[in-house]
Symmetry: C2
Subunit: 597 residues, 2 copies
């Protein structure tokens, strides 16, 4: 940073706080920033001045500089003086500039501050609602300032890698045709065509595919996307994704490119060089070994299938499950020294997650099992369990007998409950590949596992056994979070229509929803593939934040409200009339969020 | 470009078309792309293969490669063979690869194409409506491919300059509170708070100012913005701007930074090094000398004020104008050899533009004037006109007597009609500075000349003579187009409220519309300044396009329609009900655009 380059009719500063060092002792500098802390000592005032670079201590004699008398927390000032070493023993080792101070002889208040709603430092954590209402103050906290900077650095790293590989950054439209693909579209009424609506894009998917039809060889965009979902845990109505697509490209090219992108971001933000390529795991294996398609591989506790062990069991609960086509699976949770009531807690949790029950057992010296269930198991069964799960004395073994889906879901979550490391100091990336093309819904209907534009590995298989067919799709997973997903796309219009048919979309519906897109595929569409990765989630993990809201400059609450501006708001009925719409009902007086505006 | 890096399970190509050169003669390469032209000669087929890099001629014997028989225009293929020089005299000097060809022995059709709605080359220019309907084919034209690439290169250049100066790229929200600032907001109904609406941002103005309050020192964003205007000439509902803001910053810093940004873009796209700094012109002078606040300085024809010349005139039309407080101004249109009817055409044009009349005169040998009006002018008046306007024999002089505003407007436009160079081979940038804070409306009310957050040069002047007061505002102009504008902002909440008051915004209205923003200003807001520049317009000029639509990947028509997807469209009433809205009226059957869907 070169503060002299910032210009201005009158220089507000000649240096940044972080530049004030012992090497500058004796020099005059002018700083600009905020009063971060203030104390009086023997008639002299000390305060920390904070700017974008950091903090430095300023000392000023109010007798000499009367303006200093009025200083309050977060006043914005410019101050000039001489750099000097602090007296011996008075340094602050926690501060980069802790050995020096600025002895100020000029000070001007540029603007005052009202009393603060919360203290601006990283130690005190105000209520999030209040932080969002005063986001402009929250952003002054060093932690939030670091997050803003990290996000800028991360997106610059992404662009550097992709520009270097001759990808073009291309802006796709954000007022588009509504094409429901799962989540609800957010709508924008058209004024020039009253009664009609644009939609905000859930992703640039179809437009990036059209760019491929258009001869663009390599495309990317850091794109704003919109999903009107009922807010689960940590979602936002608008979010940002790195969106990539390439022609004459396949899975290997996509994966290698994204590994390079992610490695560059991690290198810049963490100073860590990742080992490439990332490991890969087939979807079916991920589900079997970790009970999820986004396994956290920072720890073991792999799930094993024990069904074969119990093929002839006399334990009725297990044999009934196997007869019904279910499975018996379990994992070794390690030597956890849990009390009986803690183990009961795990069982309660398993039932909440949908299991009929949980078999828990602790391995004893000699390889026997201590458990309420032990008595129902034969000795060979006990031995086989301990051997398969690698049980050592003291280890807690957890078993579930249920349908394959429930067993995976329950054991996968218990594995996380028991083993997931706190925080994100370690980073473990992996690719999950070989996803099914379709998911079977409760109704028996099929839904796209990724999206309906994903190419099958084998067309014949897709036609004949759609429930088993594998897609050319892949997900990127970091520490148990899905960062993004992609696929090789369908480039043959006939295959595209077959997929719509398998999905139960009639020819008429396909034509009205996707006709314009399928038409484009009829003009020499190249084979193409791509990927999209959520920027918010990646940043949150790399910055060790638990919520994506802490890496978004101005996020909304979980109910879509901005407490700072009060949006969304009512608008003038005449403006609605211009758009050809009217309120259908008055605002619901029972809506608990009404007061938030 | 390294085609081997593109990967894929099966390489679609080992080289790009542009890589096929005489240096590769004898080598085997595999290419992928589109069949751009095809002809048969003595049983052998010749065609051009087009990919992202360019064109190369392929020659193939259908007896050897039967798949070649089926080739049609724009089929997407992969082809393998041996590079060889073309026979002597058979080269194509218009093609970079014109001295070589690929003798193909393998060819695979990756996907077929239906017959084309228009020819894909730069020579034929299809109807724009058709081009937009088949935008994916239009984008294959080399000219459009160059525009897409140029846009990506330009935004990368902008980011390089700003990242290098330690600006942070920060994403501001796009679902915001509606805060009408001129143009209409586009609205997004909220589902979680039925009856309430978000707005799409007309610019990130208030959020970037809040970032300054939040301690961000230097911000930029290449931001999507939205304006629901009645489409004038060349506007889009959504557009892109480079948005910049800095704290402890002033005009000089902003101008110097934007000059560096623009110079980098021009260097990368045109290979031209601009002379910096750009010239500056005060608003009042621009209006006087060029009749506009966005003068095209590629040519002279400066307007001169001749009012003093006619202070004592006996020419009634002039003296009446002067008595009414008007002006007499004119410019020298040069030696144009216009016929009488062409000169009459200029007079008609002047009247269309609002003038009561136009005085035209041609300078004769000896310095007299040939004109229907000459007889009313005294000899000293004639001499003074010729001298002031620098008239040489044959020069056409054009004079308007009217109010200062009308004279400027009419002469400014006539100057452009007569003198504006075609195209944009030459690039002349300038800053227009010292804008008034307020514009006076017909009603006599004041409106912000830029926006209501612009700082006055002199607070006392603003209070006492608001119609005369100058703002710390500046525009960037290129070849007569305004590229962007910026200002030093108000950072004092009391000054901000004074401005609202002068604008006739009541305290209550100010509180309800901008209260949340003015509140933020009360917490130690730093002095700050910024700028925003339209990316679409800059690109159009640098790419020598007359419409911004040609530098936007997927633009809409002037009535906001996308002929490719048919948006905007009707949506399901149940979806509207979920949003708490209903259609107020059915779609207007008289809307001429209804058929466009």
């Amino acid at each position: 940073m070169d503060p002299t380059a910032v210009g201005g009719e009158k220089p507000y500063r000649t240096a940044y706080a972080a530049d004030v060092s012992e090497a500058k002792a004796g020099e005059r500098v002018r700083l600009a920033g905020w009063v971060a802390r203030r104390r009086d000592q023997g008639g002299v005032y000390f305060f920390d001045l904070r700017d974008v670079s950091g903090l430095v201590q300023v000392v000023v004699d109010p007798a000499e500089v009367p303006a200093a008398r009025d200083l309050r927390m977060e006043y914005c000032i410019t101050v000039e003086g001489t750099v000097r070493p602090r007296p011996a023993g008075m340094g602050n080792p926690e501060l980069a500039t802790g050995n020096v101070e600025l002895a100020a002889d000029q000070l001007e208040v540029l603007s005052r501050s009202e009393p603060l709603p919360f203290i601006i430092d990283d130690r005190s954590e105000a209520d999030e609602r209040l932080r969002l209402e005063y986001r402009y103050l929250d952003l002054r906290r060093p932690r939030m300032a670091r997050n803003l900077r990290a996000r800028s650095v991360a997106t610059a790293a992404m662009r550097d890698v992709l520009n270097g590989r001759d990808f073009l950054e291309i802006e796709t439209p954000t007022l588009i045709r509504s094409t429901p693909e799962g989540a609800r579209d957010m709508l924008v009424p058209s004024r020039l065509r009253r009664g009609d609506f644009y939609a905000l894009p859930q992703s640039p998917q179809l437009f990036k595919q059209l760019l491929m039809v258009g001869g663009v060889d390599r495309y990317y965009q850091i794109a704003r996307c919109y999903r009107d979902e009922d807010f689960r845990s940590d979602r936002q109505l608008e979010f940002t994704q790195l969106d990539v697509e390439g022609s004459f490209w396949g899975r290997e090219g996509v994966l290698e490119t994204f590994e390079a992108v992610v490695a560059a971001v991690v290198e810049r933000l963490r100073g860590v060089t990742l080992n490439l390529p990332f490991p890969r795991l087939a979807y079916a294996e991920a589900l079997l070994r970790y009970g999820t398609d986004k396994p956290d591989l920072r720890f073991g506790m792999e799930i094993s299938d024990l069904s074969d062990v119990f093929a002839e069991t006399g334990f009725r609960a297990f044999s009934a499950t196997l007869e019904a086509g279910g499975v018996i699976r379990g994992f070794n949770a390690g030597d956890r020294q849990l009390s009986r009531s803690q183990i009961d807690g795990l069982e309660t949790r398993a039932k909440e997650l949908g299991a009929k029950g949980l078999v828990s057992a602790v391995v004893e010296e000699g390889g026997s099992l201590r458990s309420p269930t032990t008595k129902f198991l034969s000795e060979p069964e006990t031995t086989a369990i301990v051997k398969t799960l690698g049980g050592a004395p003291g280890d807690l073994l957890l078993l579930v007998a249920d349908t394959a889906r429930t067993a995976a879901q329950v054991l996968g979550q218990l594995r996380l409950d028991v083993g997931k490391p706190a925080g994100h100091d370690e980073l473990v990336f992996l690719w999950v590949i070989d996803f099914p093309i379709f998911d079977e819904l409760e109704s028996g209907d099929l839904a796209p596992s990724h999206h309906p534009f994903t190419a099958p590995v084998d067309l014949i298989e897709m036609r004949e056994r759609p429930r088993q067919a594998i897609a050319k799709a892949y997900d990127l997973v970091l520490n148990g979070s899905e960062l993004g997903s992609g696929s090789v796309r369908i480039h043959d219009p006939e295959v595209q229509q077959e997929v719509f048919k398998i999905l139960g979309i009639s020819a008429e519906e396909a034509e009205s929803r996707f006709g314009w897109f399928v038409k484009a595929l009829r003009y020499g569409t190249p084979p193409h593939a791509g990927f999209a990765m959520g920027v918010d989630r990646l940043l949150a993990i790399l910055q060790r934040e638990t919520s994506i809201r802490d890496v978004i400059p101005f996020p909304k609450t979980q109910t879509g409200i901005d407490p700072m501006t009060g949006s969304p708001t009512a608008v003038d009925p005449t403006q609605l009339a211009e758009l050809g719409i009217a309120l259908r009902v008055g605002p619901d007086p029972e809506d608990p969020d009404r007061e938030d505006g």
